[in-house]
Homo-oligomer: 141 residues x 2
Amino acid sequence: MTANSKLTIAAHALAWLELARRRGREVLTSEEVAASVNTNAVIVRRSLGDLQRAGLVRARRGNGAGFSLGRSAAEISLLDIWLAVSAEPLLALHRSEPNLECPVGRGIRPVLTDLYDEATNAFRAALARSTVDDVLERILR
Amino acid sequence: MTANSKLTIAAHALAWLELARRRGREVLTSEEVAASVNTNAVIVRRSLGDLQRAGLVRARRGNGAGFSLGRSAAEISLLDIWLAVSAEPLLALHRSEPNLECPVGRGIRPVLTDLYDEATNAFRAALARSTVDDVLERILR
DNA sequence: CTCAAAAGCAACCGTTTCTGTTACGCCGGA
DNA sequence: TCCGGCGTAACAGAAACGGTTGCTTTTGAG
């Protein structure tokens, strides 16, 4: 599996937006964000586009355009970001249906679905405990 | 990210091995396991090969060979399986180093590493709560 | 009204990972 | 010695991701 750095890119962008805001720059362009993350501006626009659809950032177009936070950095958790940028489940069931003539093949899927949900919920709960504000505070400390 | 079904395949194989054992068949070939999982025997051998390296199953070669559980099904947790088949981290940092001239770029990596570790540990702890025996019991109930 | 800056978006590419498949070497009990 | 079955290499197809280019759309500024 290709490990997923989408959360990293998005969290970095939001932390940078918040730091810029504290310094009096309410809006940053995708180029400016990309310079900090060290990636392409299109990658940033794609990522922030996901966040915009979730209401976490605002995008202004036209001349003098750019991105700004959609709500307070203390009200954006890592879980919010994760849900906005990564719809993929952490664990997948069988790619092709198991053999239904075998008791295990017949009954395993709902069981694993339940257990995978529990693990995923634990993962999400941990992400929900930190916000963009927390991340930035730990960076600056 | 391509969702990972390795845990599913391995857990299915182990549950099937345990059910067969209860029915008096201590050893199953990769073909027999593959028939239940509905995949190729090589996939099963690769998966059970990982589990063997972790001590979760035993593989016998030669005539009349096959796989059997390495220890009691109640002593094999989903976490054990996960660790054996999937060394990949759930979340990755930046692919290329962020801009170190930016305060965020300079400080974000250890912060995210910590937070990702917490989320991953929560995920693992949830997987540790269920065993192959639990899975099989829930299937048969 | 025009211009230009910047987001939005589509089409690629290269890389990686996963599943699947074939083929073959090697082991070991009968 | 035979031969069933594991171990493993090689390869193919699909999917996802990061990256890149180029074009369209929006919109404030002059």
